[in-house]
Amino acid sequence: MDKTAESIKSKFLELGVDIPLEDIVERLDKLVTKFKVPLDEARRSVITYFLKENNLDRNAFFGGQSTTPDSRSTPDVKLNGIDEGGKWVNIKAKVLQLWDSSHESVSQVGIIGDETATIKFIKWSRDTIPDVEEGKSYYFKNVVSNEWNGRFEITLNKNTVVEEIDEDIEVISSPMAGAGDGQPAPIVNVADIAEDGKWVSIRAKVSQLWDNSHESISQVGLVGDSTGTIKFIKWTSAELPDLTEGSSYLFNNVVAQEWNEKFSVTLNKNSSIEELDEDIEVASSSIIFAGAMVDVQSGSGLIKRCPECKRALTKGACMEHGKVDGTYDLRIKAVLDDGNTAQESILKRELAEQISGITLDDAISMAADALDQGVVLDQMRLKLLGKYFTVTGSKVDRYILVDSIEPQDEMDMEMLDELIADAEMI
């Protein structure tokens, strides 16, 4: 068993993760001794556990080689030669795009290219590899190929060596490279966005702007056209003008990105935005949910927002703009629960005022009297918890962004009779 644990440890080391041997032994031992799991099965289970813990792809592990490669034995390949996951390769390529990463574990992510192809790359924060720069060419030694949903990407790891090279690598001309050359990517329907890393242009309306707490993100929300809606992220580094909710735009050269099987588009330095005169009709993605309000989460009630970027302030400070004189707002982050699903829902000021009966002005004076913003949340909890509501809105990630909310305060007698009839039949 110790041998198995050691081999698991050394495999993870190759991927740049140092897991204490005793952690592996303990997990393995519990499965094998206490739960009578065959060693092979236990090994798989332990590996899966630590892969998940460390956000690693299975291919990287199971496809990887059993010894740490040195770059002399790792083959130099062209990007179009990457056709399976879990291979150690050396690559000469140019960094075409760096995307800002909203995930702490990722230090750099983007696109590199050579004369044969372009490919997504990921550099993890845990590996101390110097940052690469856009437009420069590098020799990437000992990187690992990964297959993800039928597409390939490369991962830099602990054994990776990155050397800048003088040579300016020529890059295959493709929509991806074209975007940097000022050639707009083709206009597509929102519903047709289905390829990770693809450059597209869309004509869409900003249907929602959300709160965001990442300083690298200037705006985040939902855009839509007649075919559907999609999340968008506008990076601060893109230095693009602010979008207004309800306005329609032509978004040139945005990048489709997939995360957890959901697509979003990111607006970066090569993107441009033109406001349109027309009002683009957005496909309705409205859903209805009815349940009891079982929680009003922290971050609800009276909050302050940064006057510049509208982010909710934390302890009087904006993630990006620091200490600012915030403007007051009301919102409710509620959990509605129907007994089968716990549904997080976000209510903006008007709706928060409507159901709590507390206006923004009321809230401000309540907070002033109590010298505490928290009294507003307390009042809202008292008023709302345990009651039944029906909301309509759009489902985004795990939230419903609520458009309307109605308290349910009367028994539907027809429904009750049906329920009784149903109960009589068993």
Partner: protein
Amino acid sequence: MSGYVREVSRRVFAQEFRESNLTFKDGDDQYSPQYLLTPTGAKVNRLFIVGTLIEKEDIGTDSEYWRGRVSDPTGSFMIYAGQYQPEAAQALAECETPAFVAIVGKPSTYTNAEGTVFTSVRPESISIVDVATRDLWVADAARRTLERVKDLDNMDSNVVKAKEHYNTDKDHYSSMIREALRSLKEDL
């Protein structure tokens, strides 16, 4: 990436809750959530109750420790709130009895020397509601319980486990549901 999924608040009548005594952990480390499996196969880590608070008492010695009894059409729930449930303890301290209350809480079990298991609820929140909300809850709990009773014939692992442990009598619970629903009609 957040793997956190909030536990759903299950709907269970007091009678079924009282007749439950099987707890288990889903997973094998100390952070694995604990569940109470009820006779109809509800896997309960959190529950939502609306009923009538009929008794309350501070049974604490050093610090406040509140016990309350909340009834629904089928029986009553015992609830306990102390220093680790400050909001709920305060709500119990301040409220009058009887009162319609809505409670979100976690199931808890206690086994006495004779091996009898007692179930109770550790409230996360207690709020005062009106009679309409109470009636809506009875219908709500009846619907979810009815769904589970109908599913007693399927091979879902929780159902299988529940039937093995409790030897669940379908008629017992379907008549409980019918009585609870009829009580709603009688009141009107």
